[in-house]
Symmetry: C2
């Protein structure tokens, strides 16, 4: 799938005669959306929605405030009458076949699990980009190029065979983890004429060893975060890695994306948590031994797997840190009169060396979204809630249109958690904050896992949205958020977007030297001549604004294809050349041809300042 | 300088007619040793030494216990009569001249500081390897190959010119920081026929910006740790980076070596502390912008500078984290009945999440070395010391030949330090530990900075010694130390080493998943046919034993040339190939031809298991 719908090429390789529809299993949910079959947002009546199933705290109860909130914020109506139907099965182009490759694979691994049905092919040809992938599919579109085969290796030996055969037969391999990528990294290059095989790693999900003496676990890289945590929990352990995609994404995917979990303050980002990863490339395995906490052994090729985005090889196993389950877990929430006050509080917390497992700060819009996802209130609880609100808004003078919320998870020994809580509450008053209670903290984190289901629901209502994130120095936060907001409003007005755009953001991670800002933007695409294209252009400009204001290209989503244009702005030409030299060394035939980040069609000339001596500003 | 004295080639390029002696400035200390001119160990009488100058807490007072300790431990006499004289100025070979290169350099930078005198050439042709470099020099030897010129660039522009001209004129550049390298990384490849220029970076020591808002400092990479700290302290700040070489080593050297400071628990290792480094290569600058706390932008070429050991380019600037000076600093020391008990204590401290800035554990020999560096005691203080010792050894039953010491530095807010101290003292009794008081803790750290002066002094007495370090999982600690100790004894007996070998070690860093073990080994080389070669072979075998027992090749000293043989054991062939591909991309003409780690003469074939699917053990 390409970055722009205008490039949907009907003449792409793999098309042609014999195209046929596919038929998803009857009764099954449309298999391209996020998450679990039993979980989706549905209208109960024209104004009330609920989340089906019982997986999430949010599920089950009517949510009467949500649709009014959406309509008010977007300035457009959004009712059952706007729901688009799930599209009929699309006509897929015939695959590009590789019989010799397949014969040899089957000869070497008679039990090899190989799929070439349309549903498998389509599922494995996209990630979870909201607009360029999911919205397009819901509108009946398909990616410009599809994978031709899906293979599910069951062992490292099978991966080695796959890589060797692909190299010999001129086949492309695209590693596939949980399918949750949001940078277009799973999309096939539209002009690829070779057979493309998606290598679905989820069959390799064993825990190979738990090493309690050294706090390590050795896993096959296809294990999902949820499987990992369920099985570690049985042993009284946790990896502490909690990306928002935890339920679906895999350890290999985390490494390939250089991912980040919400509890990184305690458990580290993926580069801290993973001591070792085996990367199988066409020219052999990249790894370093022994596995030790830290070393100094020259340039560190073993770190090449991190952020490789499928372009160098297949990550087959990893050694991760594990921790005993925390003795104590405690949630908290705080409200502040405005976002600026909240940011000052976060800085003070960092400066004081207080490191709760997670601390996040939502802007006012995201705060109100959280409120709008509240259930219908009955009896005393509603009364209490009203009283509390009255206290906050009337007595303390908080403006409901400006106030923001901070949510916290503390984990560790009772003493650690006590000390953290003392520190966090102690700094509150000086920054104009008030406690919002533990339950609101817990709820804030629970909502995180529902966001992608909301995205799918809004997509069906013709409302396009996407998240994007950046890391930035503390001093750039407000410049970035202000510039993004102003530019989004300007562009939506200029392009004739109906109603108003939606923009919310949170500080999702803090570091001593800055933060991760996580944005959600959206608008109603109804009536636009080419909504997908309009969205793409506006979103591209948003990322540009972030860069102009001193933010990074990405904190943890990666580059993939949608951010590829910006690679020369963030990496110098010599750096890009070195990256490509690594690629040529490990994968000279471009077996791993997904074409993400510097491995894809990046502008050959670097940014204007690439040759300059850098100035003194960081 | 090569790894073995047997390879000292008289036919090395750069030799030939016109060789002439050099004449160090009269009255000046022999300029090849460690540290400051005013600081050295000297005999006061045949049994008593002192440290001259007043830089160190250890300096000034007679140290009556040290030489008896040395003699007892090594089983050889060591008095003034064994002192070797500083050698006469050696005869240096003529330099390999590069007149066109020099002419163009002078034309572009008329003020360029260029040296070609013998003393500068010799100083810049070695680091601080105890035996292969310092002991050899003290014995009148010189490196197999010397640098031909020394240039001291004053600006990034001058570095860019140097690199461009070197690439054009076929000149080799070897970046030089504090000259404290202990892996042979500064040694010139003996067969290099091109002109070799040492690029002494210490003229580039400016602080370019202090960014308090984001806790960052931008520095030129030639600044030494001490300069950096002195100037930051004036601003109420610290980088917290305290490698043992702090006084002399540079920020650029730290990055190139992937160094580690003793307070990494609070301030991080160099890879944590440095957010950005500019690496100037013959094919342009490698860097990523903007400078942010963390990002996900594909493979990370900007990390190539870390551990590059001078082989890819010159690190010209860095952005480091800075911290406010700690509100509170507190030392502590503990004694344990034996090393095993001390290790159990360190693990318990880690498991409890207590992270003092530094916590170290010495083995019994190193504990006794610390005692032996005590001053002559008078009056009550001696009495108190005796009483304390009697309590520890008689009442508590500690064996002076087995007991060990743990030293701690806590830094941070008063609350943080209080919490850490409570945790540390709270775990003591359960592990059989006793407090040794803050003063012993402070002393333990102060001794660190005197170790290299002791090395120089013992070298002159014909006693060869070296430090080496490894990182290892917790579960491998005792296997590694036991195997190293047994093999050292066996080899020294086999080789007819006089007396007994010395071996001390400490756990200098701890991590959740393991530790850094820092060894010091030594023996008397008097009477051996080729002491340097014997030492080299024994030390090489020590490193091999560490690898066999699951330790890493290096925790923070790097690979350089003395560990180069082992590169194929710790990096897979594909990883080595990728590293070399980077090198060819950035430096196709091998301008940065120091030839360290994978960039040097590493065995072309990888280790026997490099092609295998790895087993489940980490």
């Amino acid at each position: 799938m390409t970055r722009s719908s205008t490039r949907r090429s009907t003449g792409a390789p793999g098309g042609g005669a014999g195209e046929r529809p596919y038929d998803p299993a009857p009764g099954r949910r449309y298999p391209h959306l996020w998450g679990y079959d039993d979980t989706r947002f549905e209208f109960l009546d024209p104004r009330t929605v609920h989340l089906t199933g019982d997986r999430y705290p949010l599920a089950g109860a009517p949510l009467p405030h949500f649709m009014p909130f959406v309509e008010a914020l977007l300035g457009v109506p959004a009712g059952p009458e706007h729901l688009q139907q799930t599209p009929p099965p699309p006509v897929l182009p015939e695959p590009v076949r590789a019989p010799a490759f397949l014969d040899e694979l089957r000869a070497a691994h008679p039990g090899a699990r190989i799929e070439d049905d349309d549903e498998s092919r389509l599922i494995h040809s996209h990630g979870q980009l909201s607009v360029e992938e999911i919205y397009r599919l819901l509108g009946g579109g398909i990616p410009d190029r599809l994978v031709d085969l899906v293979v599910h290796p069951a062992s490292e030996e099978e991966v080695l065979t796959l890589v060797r055969l692909a190299d010999r037969h001129g086949v492309v391999l695209i590693p596939y983890g949980g399918g949750t990528n949001v940078s277009g990294a799973l999309a096939c290059p539209p002009r690829e004429r070779r057979t493309i095989v998606s290598v679905d790693m989820r069959g390799m999900s064993r825990i190979l060893e738990i090493d309690r003496a050294n706090g390590l676990v050795v896993v096959e890289a296809g294990i999902t975060g949820k499987e990992l945590e369920v099985r570690l929990e049985q042993e009284g352990l946790t990896s502490g890695q909690v990306p928002d995609s935890l339920e679906l994404s895999t350890v290999g995917g985390w490494i390939a994306t250089n991912a980040s979990g919400m509890k990184k303050n305690r458990y580290g980002n993926v580069e801290d948590a993973v001591l070792d990863a085996v990367l199988v490339t066409p020219r052999g395995e990249v790894r370093a031994r022994p596995v030790v906490p830290r070393s100094s052994t020259g340039v560190q090729p073993q770190r090449l797997a991190f952020g490789s985005e499928g372009g160098l090889g297949i990550i087959t196993r990893a050694v991760l840190q594990v921790w005993p389950l925390p003795e104590t877990q405690r949630y908290a929430s705080f409200v502040f009169p405005d976002f600026e006050a909240g940011v000052r509080y976060l800085r003070a917390v960092q400066a004081a060396g207080i490191r709760p497992a997670s601390i996040r700060l939502t802007n006012n819009t995201e705060f109100r979204l959280g409120q709008a996802l509240g259930r219908a209130r009955r009896g005393t609880s509603a009364l209490v809630a009203k009283l509390k609100k009255a206290y906050v808004t009337r007595v303390k003078g908080f403006d409901p249109e400006r106030m923001v919320a901070c949510t916290v998870v503390m984990e560790g020994s009772a003493a650690e958690v006590r000390q953290q809580a003392r520190g966090l509450f102690g700094l509150l008053a000086a920054h104009g904050g008030l406690s919002g209670g533990p339950e609101n903290g817990r709820r804030g984190y629970a909502v995180t896992f529902a966001i992608a289901y909301i995205r799918d629901f809004l997509n069906k209502l013709g409302i396009l949205g996407e998240t994007f994130e950046t890391s930035a120095p503390w001093s750039r936060i407000h410049d970035i958020t202000d510039a993004v907001e102003a530019e989004l409003r300007r562009l939506c007005a200029e392009r004739g977007v109906p109603g108003k755009p939606y923009l919310s953001y949170r500080v999702s991670q803090s570091y001593r030297t800055g933060v991760c800002i996580y944005f959600t933007m959206g608008f109603c695409g109804r009536g636009l001549a080419d909504a997908e294209r309009t969205f793409h252009e506006i979103e591209h400009r948003m990322r540009e604004v972030v860069l102009e204001q001193g933010g990074s290209l990405s904190h943890h989503h990666g580059v993939g294809k949608i951010r590829q244009d910006f690679v020369p702005r963030v990496h110098s030409q010599a750096a890009i050349d070195a990256t490509r030299a690594v690629k040529r060394s490990l994968d000279p035939n471009d077996v791993f041809g997904a074409g993400n980040h510097a491995f894809g069609p990046v502008a050959a000339t670097a940014s204007p300042d690439a040759g300059r001596v850098p100035d003194g500003t960081p």
